[in-house]
């Protein structure tokens, strides 16, 4: 899905509905980002390179290690969508959607089960104003900013029968499941399991249970 199509799913006037029942309401129907493929060698070389480089960078560590090398190679920042594999790997800067998509591919190529994770985080008006300026300068959509909240993408990694860890590829760290308030904290999360419903209790993340496919307020 390209951004224009996805953006159409954003409720641009959530305030019209009164107080939002969930910080992620604005992005309730927004799909996780996915890189496009030209169907040609250019994108296939890029995809192979990411997978082979990811394994090389493991250095013999546990396969469940976060692919931190991605953040080292690609700075986080504005990047235009739609984005193809061959374009993503050549950029110096990619946004959280591209970061999460690359991490998802890396985890899955290691033989692990991973899902896109969508997050709503709290920052501050000052922070979002800065980001808006930066994204505007690059003529890139600011659909991910809303007051003190931001829409963010990450990757959920299944590490047990029903337990997930959430890798924030654009930060190069695991999202802490303990924190539930303040600057940079998580306001809502959705694990997109693509048909996998999980059991009745949902996936365990720290002390919480996350119902697959549903936004969960933190």
């Amino acid at each position: 899905m390209y951004l224009a199509e996805a953006e159409a799913r954003i409720d641009v006037r959530p305030e019209s509905l009164g107080r939002s029942p969930l910080p992620g309401d604005r992005w309730r129907e927004f799909p996780p980002s996915a890189l496009s493929h030209h169907g040609e060698a250019c994108c296939e070389i890029a995809r192979h390179w990411v997978i082979a480089m990811d394994f090389a960078q493991l250095n013999g560590a546990e396969p469940t290690s976060g692919p931190r090398w991605l953040r080292q190679k690609y700075k986080w920042g504005p990047s235009p969508w739609p984005m193809h594999w061959c374009e993503a790997v050549k950029r110096k800067t990619i946004d959280c959607g591209a970061h999460a998509a690359l991490a998802l591919e890396a985890f899955r190529a290691r033989g692990l089960t991973a899902f896109p994770a969508q997050l709503v985080q709290r920052y501050s008006e000052a922070a979002t104003e800065q980001w808006r300026g930066k994204w505007d300068r690059e003529n890139v959509s600011c659909h991910w900013l809303d007051g003190e909240h931001i829409y963010h993408e990450a990757t959920a990694l299944l590490v047990g029968e029903d337990e997930v860890r959430i890798w924030d590829s654009s930060a190069g760290s695991w999202v802490c499941p303990r924190q539930d308030g303040g600057y940079g904290s998580l306001a809502a999360v959705r694990i997109c399991t693509e048909g996998r419903d999980g059991d009745g209790d949902g996936l365990r993340w720290g002390e919480r249970r996350l119902k697959p496919g549903e936004w969960v307020r933190i």
């Binding site: 060698a41 250019c42 296939e44 070389i45 890029a46 192979h48 390179w49 990411v50 997978i51 082979a52 480089m53 394994f55 090389a56 960078q57 493991l58 250095n59 013999g60 560590a61 546990e62 469940t64 290690s65 061959c86 790997v89 050549k90 590490v159 303990r178």
Partner: protein
């Protein structure tokens, strides 16, 4: 209530004293808190919560007997004592081996059972101990430990200090430094565990666990010390056995278990400290005031309940007023012409350490059955070495001279050939390649030929030498960036394989093949390791360069089979990492096949294997490697394995004679030898097993570790061919020393120097 608290150092690696004081003040606002220190240079003595100070002279000046008497009087007088220093706690335990009701520190028996690195008392906890060895082992064994753990190892002192040792030279330097600081040669090497650091702090009184709390580091200093953390309850699966352990140890006082949680979630115990940690007040902020709980447990006087302000804490830097009664001492002047003020350990802790282990023995806890009496620093030497030396007329050998170990070399090549045969199957043939550059001695090249090796050459001069010894061109593999040198020596016949080192090299090879100037059954590329620094091969570090490689492979001649070569010295990066690299390279190969449409038929992989890893490593690893190749690259018909120096290094030794022995103070000896780093250029990068031949009996004696330095004959400051060795008793000028394991790059890179 009066409580004495020590360990007030507040620098980058702080002690817990100030944190204990702050917590006690919160729990007992009216208590009289007395800070104990052994120098007035420690900034914690100026902390405002202290009601009084008891400043002692530094440990190197203290009259310990008298001080013990004074501490006894303090305790007998009803005051409590909480130690914030490991070494002080050890000393107190020696003064009060069965404890004292007011001494809130562990008894001597408990300390013995938590000695690192084995931490014998840990059994029952859901933790593992990272692999370790005592530095009492021979250098040969220590080097093997480092390789086995990919050089991700720490050399640790008996009490404090740890140095990361990513290579042999850094290990030797760190060992010398730690030995000097802590006045002991008993250190230990421990494997690094990558992960997140966390701790459990506890308070106990006479074997009863009063409380415990967990902390995960959330920010660390450059030294890896806690700067911020989050605090939470201890998992019941941890707390239950901890309670049992505390009981069994009859623990009194604070304590800390420092751990790492690896990516898979496994906990590794690094050490158990006999005191509260420096972050103790961080836990109080989170509602867990363990110092107050300890005092409450010891006195029965209820502490003010701790209220949780937050579940996380962090540190800040504060300036505080200096107490007028303890004005700042003068800052020592830097040594003339030197940098820095050289004022570590102003309280004389290192001196206390020396006094303690001189009296009580070495403090390191290795395992049950310690100490390892076999560990005397003397290496074991293979029987074949002794047989080879025994067959030589050493008395007439002019020194310095390389000795060829014929039987040893024959055995090495024979075993490699047998392994290759054993690994070969119908689908994939396995062969070995002898890297000419590791030692171009004709005897070794001939052994390679006789045992079915290919000749791995990095220049046309090497190819000519191989052919001169008897190799056919179709047994030659030409490799590296220097394959066109010297001009005009390219074999006319078809070689077995040519690997291109760069895209430019590939285009040159393609042109030379098209022009009939070069011919090979296999033509391929060497790929550069993307995550280990290397200057060789075609890089893979960006999608663009990878794309160029794919394009270039498409230009290779179709009438030659396609091959891929990669090489990385396993002795440098470690054995496990090498095998990861191997698997990683196979994945790159699979991508190259898929994207280029060329099937890989030859895989040439090396190298730089340390002999023990290659020859003794028959644990099925090679069999599994062949299976992996078959699974990932079904088109491969041949695997050429290049063991590198594993074949050459054991095959020669360097004989030298002692010219002079100079005896210095405190048993330090400098012996001058007629060998030098010109004959032993690898001296800094690998250990050599050294034998001394007794002049009277001819017997060969292994040289262990000691205080002797073997100085080369060259007037060069760094010409020291061995440090910290111990020459057997009776060694005199004229005696012969045989440096084994010198047949690899020592031999091939030796140079003429200082010979007129």
């Amino acid at each position: 209530m009066k409580v004495y608290v020590s360990g007030l150092y507040c620098g980058g690696n702080p002690q817990p004293g100030v944190g204990i004081i702050r917590s006690l003040r919160q729990g007992y606002p009216d208590a009289k808190l007395v800070g104990v220190e052994y120098t007035n240079r420690v900034s914690g003595i100026h902390w405002r919560d202290l009601d009084d100070l008891w400043i002692q002279r530094p440990w190197d000046e203290l009259e310990l007997g008298l001080y013990a008497q004074r501490v006894g009087e303090v305790l007998d007088g009803g005051a409590l004592w909480i130690s914030g220093s490991d070494l002080e706690a050890m000393w107190l335990a020696s003064v009060f081996p069965d404890g004292h009701p007011n001494l809130l520190a562990p008894p001597a028996a408990a300390l013995k059972r938590i000695a690192k690195p084995a931490v014998e008392a840990h059994r029952g906890l859901p933790v593992d101990i990272p692999p370790f060895v005592s530095s009492d082992l021979s250098d040969w064994e220590l080097h093997a430990f480092c390789r086995a753990h990919d050089w991700r190892v720490w050399l640790k002192g008996p009490y404090y200090d740890a140095a990361r040792v990513p290579g042999w030279d850094s290990f030797v330097a760190a060992r010398a430094a730690l030995t000097k600081v802590w006045s002991t040669e008993t250190l230990f090497l421990q494997a690094h565990v990558s992960g997140y650091e966390e701790s459990v702090m506890l308070a106990a009184y006479r074997g009863e666990l009063l409380g415990c709390v967990a902390m995960r580091k959330r920010d660390v200093t450059a030294e890896g010390k806690t700067w911020a953390g989050d605090v939470g309850p201890v998992d019941p699966e941890f707390e239950t056995p901890l309670r049992r352990i505390v009981k069994a140890l009859n623990w009194t006082g604070g304590g800390e278990l420092e751990m790492v949680r690896d990516v898979a979630g496994r906990l590794w115990l690094l050490e158990m400290n006999p005191r509260f940690p420096a972050w103790v007040h961080g836990a109080t902020i989170a509602g867990h005031n363990l110092p107050a709980l300890l005092v409450q447990g010891a006195t029965g006087i209820r502490a003010r309940p701790a209220e949780a302000e937050a579940a996380e804490f962090t540190r800040v830097v504060l300036e505080v007023p200096v107490r007028s009664e303890y004005p700042l001492p003068a800052l020592p002047e830097p040594f003339a012409g030197a940098v820095g003020h050289s004022m570590k350990h102003p309280s004389g802790l290192t001196s206390l350490a020396e006094r303690l282990h001189k009296r009580d023995g070495e403090p390191i806890g290795l395992a049950e059955g310690e100490p390892d009496e076999a560990a005397d620093g003397r290496p074991g030497v293979p029987e074949t070495y002794l047989d080879d030396i025994g067959a030589m007329a050493l008395a007439s050998v002019e020194t310095p001279q390389f000795l060829f170990f014929e039987k040893t070399a024959e055995g090495l090549f024979r075993r490699a050939a047998e392994r290759a045969r054993r690994l070969s199957g119908n689908a994939v043939r396995v062969a070995s390649g002898y890297s000419i550059k590791t030692n171009p001695d004709e005897r070794l090249i001939r052994l390679a030929l006789d045992n079915g090796f290919y000749a791995e050459c990095i220049s046309l001069a090497e190819a000519a030498k191989a052919i001169e010894v008897g190799f056919r061109a179709d047994q030659v593999i030409l490799n590296g960036p220097g394959k066109w040198w010297p001009r005009g020596m390219m074999p006319k016949e078809r070689m077995h394989a040519v690997f291109c080192d760069s895209v430019a090299d590939l285009d040159r090879c393609v042109a030379a093949i098209a022009a009939g100037e070069m011919s090979a059954k296999h033509v391929g590329v060497r790929i550069r390791t993307p995550n280990v620094t290397s200057r060789f091969g075609i890089p893979l570090d960006s999608p663009e360069t990878f794309g160029k490689l794919i394009d270039a492979v498409g230009r290779l001649p179709r009438d030659a089979a396609f091959g891929i070569h990669f090489h990385m010295a396993s002795s440098n990066i470690g054995v496990a990492l090498w095998w990861h690299l191997f698997e990683s390279m196979l994945k790159w190969c699979r991508s190259i096949e898929a994207l280029s449409g060329r099937r890989i038929e030859l895989l040439d992989m090396g190298g730089g294997w340390f002999p023990d890893d290659w020859h003794a490593g028959d644990d099925g690893r090679f069999e599994r490697a062949v299976e992996t190749v078959r699974a990932l690259l079904p088109g491969v018909r041949q695997i050429v394995s290049e063991p590198g120096k594993a074949m050459a290094q054991p095959s020669m030794a360097l004989a030298m004679r002692i010219l002079e022995i100079q005896e210095h103070e405190e048993d330090h000896v400098e012996a001058v030898v007629d060998g030098s780093i010109a004959e032993l250029p690898m001296y800094a990068f690998q250990p050599h097993r050294i034998l001394r031949q007794c002049r009277e009996t001819g017997a060969l004696q292994p040289v262990g570790r000691g205080k002797t330095h073997l100085m080369g004959r060259l007037c060069m400051e760094h010409d020291i061919v061995a440090s910290n060795v111990s020459l057997p008793e009776g060694t005199r000028a004229g005696d012969m020393l045989i440096f084994c394991d010198a047949g690899g790059y020592d031999r091939s890179m030796s140079y003429v120097f200082g010979r007129g």
